[in-house]
Symmetry: C2
Subunit: 145 residues, 2 copies
DNA sequence: CATAATCCTGAGTGATTTGCTCAGAATAAA
DNA sequence: TTTATTCTGAGCAAATCACTCAGGATTATG
């Protein structure tokens, strides 16, 4: 029931971008040094982030990455889904309400996993990069849904 | 961010015991057939459940397993912790409030993981086997804390 | 224009975890 | 005494994780 390092790194990297928003793009190398994460591993992570349209890459010398939209509009859930896939504790509660389990009609536990999934989403989808950058998590005033 | 099959199987197996509580012990073989889970794998899982004092084994012919305490007093969290270890999305929020991360004092994301952990625990620790067996998850009347 | 700094792409790899199986001893009811 | 069960410990193939390696594409800067 652990998040991979990929997911953790992704959030930390995005936070670096969020804290320097609106300035020039930040090179991956800088993020790597600031957060002490392998640059080559970070590159892989940014592939996913870019595909999910959460960041934009700027090529060439003095290029780098910047957020594709304001930090207020990017949640932890967006980031984790981009690099780790759907947020679901078990496969059978992956898609909206449909599943491929076979025993779903008799499966009592499925309701538990749905609840778990929903409570996880509730936290991740209401916490934005802006919330984190502003230290708003410590006071409890995160965005409402 | 997925639960292992071990965790899922454990909850399902415990639910079988919960639904037949107070009768004779149930053989692992029966659980295996009812839930379509490999008997040998189940044996491994019951090692953990027994160590955590959630079930009692009764040896010999016509032996089996039974819950070590009433189904009202066993939560999904108890079961998952028994077979999967602590419920924590990342290592750095494992122990009560102490950690071994090094960068914890400067780590903004840690607060997010704490929130995530707490929301997961909130669901898992308030859902008992009795709740599930009674279908109480569908109506919303689970145990309060 | 040349060069250097960056993003971008795709493949490869050792270690760990997962999801089991296999073999057999210990115990107790029938 | 036989048979049904729990219990114990080892082993193993496949998948996943957490990276590394090698090199091409693009563009600012000197």
């Amino acid at each position: 029931m652990r998040l991979s390092t990929k997911g953790q790194y992704a959030v930390r990297a995005m936070l670096v971008l969020a804290m320097r928003e609106a300035e020039a793009p930040i090179a991956l190398r800088q993020i790597s040094e600031l957060e002490d994460i392998s640059a080559q591993y970070l590159e892989q992570i940014f592939v996913d982030l870019r595909k999910a349209k959460l960041v934009e890459g700027v090529r060439g010398a003095s290029g780098g990455y910047r957020l594709a939209r304001p930090a207020e509009q990017i949640t932890a859930g967006d980031i984790l889904r981009a690099v780790e896939g759907p947020i679901a504790p078990v496969e059978c509660v992956l898609h909206g309400d449909e599943e491929a389990c076979g025993r779903a009609h008799i499966c009592i536990t499925r309701e538990l996993w749905k609840r778990l999934r929903d409570s996880m989403s509730a936290v991740l989808d209401t916490t934005t990069l802006a919330d984190m950058a502003a230290g708003r998590l410590f006071t409890g005033e995160t965005r409402e849904v």
